[in-house]
């Protein structure tokens, strides 16, 4: 009887130790995420099939008009891409002649969100791409900017960074999460700072830019871009805008040392479904 009891206690302690010990926890996370991956990818497949069926029920004339429009846009974008590719090659040649480092190339990997924590809705989510898709830790994740921005120009904004990867899935920490630190730049006054952590108030969420120089002027709605200091993050990707001063101070001086500004993320983190991951070639 006592022997059986001690076995149970030993099992409980072993389990608790395995879950609390960082390296074993990492292994369990990878194994569990990969175990659940086929089931969630099946759910995604079913969702996509249903969406296709719903789309197929629309009027054929409307659909064919849309296909033609997409084909036109596609050829325009292909021509633009070719031109940009030529300019990029030329730029690299010139940089080589001047003895400067060439600009890094990035691959764009499309991913879908497979599950999300209702408690940390704005902080973290899991996507259906992992090590097999050549994703690496710290890679920047982008998404389409919400519709309240000018729709004439399609823009992508920073959502967050890859936090942990398994073979088929990856966990993304958003810019609101305290686990995503990103070097940012304000083009209006040339200030650089670091995205630290955010908070949520109702449906709004904001993030803070810390370590900004004290002696500069910060205006509300100024765009904030990535600085490109890390090789994993290209420069000039939109992160958000400095918030308008309403209820609480959007810009505050911290201990007379540096300025801390509140930032409204460019991307609507509430309604994310698909994202793009930037991976260095």
């Amino acid at each position: 009887m006592i022997k059986k009891q001690s076995i149970y206690i030993l099992i409980i302690f072993l389990l608790a130790f395995t879950m609390l010990f960082q390296p074993t926890r990492g292994v369990i996370q990878k194994t569990a995420a990969d175990f659940f991956y086929p089931f969630f990818s099946l759910v995604l497949k079913i969702k996509n099939i249903v969406n296709q069926k719903v789309l197929a029920r629309k009027n054929k004339n409307i659909l064919s008009a849309k296909v033609l429009e997409l084909q036109r846009n596609n050829s325009k974008l292909s021509a633009k891409c070719e031109h940009i590719e030529a300019l990029l090659n030329e730029n690299n040649e010139l940089r080589k002649l001047l003895g400067l480092k060439p600009n890094p190339y990035y691959n764009y990997i499309f991913a879908e969100i497979i599950y999300r924590d209702p408690l940390e809705w704005f902080n973290r989510f899991t996507i259906n791409k992992g090590e097999t898709d050549l994703i690496e830790n710290g890679a920047v994740v982008l998404a389409r900017i919400s519709t309240d921005y000018p729709p004439t120009k399609t823009q992508f904004g920073v959502v967050g960074r890859i936090d942990s990867i398994s073979k088929h899935t990856a966990s993304v920490s958003t810019i609101v999460s305290d686990q995503c630190n990103l070097s940012v730049f304000i083009p209006e006054n040339g200030a650089t700072g670091v995205l630290t952590r955010g908070e949520r108030d109702g449906s709004k969420c904001l993030t803070k830019v810390s370590y900004l120089p004290r002696d500069l002027i910060y205006k509300p709605f100024s765009p904030v871009l990535t600085s490109g200091m890390s090789s994993l993050t290209p420069a000039n990707l939109k992160v958000g805008n400095i918030m308008e001063e309403k209820d609480s101070a959007a810009i505050s001086v911290y201990n007379n040392l540096f300025v801390e500004a509140k930032l409204k993320p460019a991307v609507d983190l509430n309604h994310l479904k698909t994202v793009l991951i930037l991976v260095k070639k």
């Binding site: 149970y8 879950m19 369990i28 996370q29 759910v43 999300r116 408690l119 899991t126 108030d201």
Partner: protein, 173 residues
């Protein structure tokens, strides 16, 4: 062997269900309901072990920095033992009460910790209250359905029934 596969399947469904509904901003207390059910048909020790496994897996998969789910699920196990001794297990409609209670035990600490760590303001407090209320309702509905469904499967598999768990307690005395 049949018990192991049965437990594994139930735990898999509970974790998958919780993750699936979580993606739609719903806390569906599948894990709490399944742990409660398994503790009632097996015993406290197995319940605690399963609570630690399921709770840790949920926290690890969600990427939580605070590991609270194993503790809240262990509290669910303790409540199930209390219900086994003091509650009524025969009538299915009365299981709404433990269903709501275990949902509260499971979700309240998670919501409270998250509120104090990541959120602020009265609006967020109200949203959290609404989520808690919905979770309690889901749990209250889910437990009787789960009992009805699993008891009918258990009868065919010759595994202990929830509705007969009180009889087993009397026999063991």
């Amino acid at each position: 062997m049949i018990h192991l596969s049965y437990i594994f399947l139930l735990l898999f469904i509970s974790i998958f269900g919780e993750l699936f509904f979580g993606s739609y901003y719903i806390i569906m207390p599948f894990a709490a309901v399944i742990i409660f059910y398994l503790t009632m048909i097996y015993n406290l020790k197995i319940g605690i072990i399963l609570a630690i496994i399921v709770g840790s897996l949920l926290d690890i998969l969600y990427g939580h920095t605070h590991y609270i789910s194993p503790i809240t699920l262990s509290l669910v196990v303790l409540f199930s033992i209390f219900w086994l001794h003091k509650g009524i297990v025969k009538h299915l409609h009365l299981q709404i009460l433990p269903g709501g209670t275990i949902s509260f035990i499971y979700a309240f600490p998670l919501l409270a910790i998250n509120y104090f760590l990541n959120e602020n303001g009265f609006l967020m407090f109200l949203i959290n209250m609404l989520i808690l209320l919905l979770t309690i309702i889901f749990g209250a509905v889910l437990l009787p359905i789960t009992i009805l469904l699993l008891d009918s499967i258990n009868a065919k598999l010759k595994i202990n029934l929830y509705t007969c768990s009180k009889n087993r307690l009397v026999e063991s005395r």
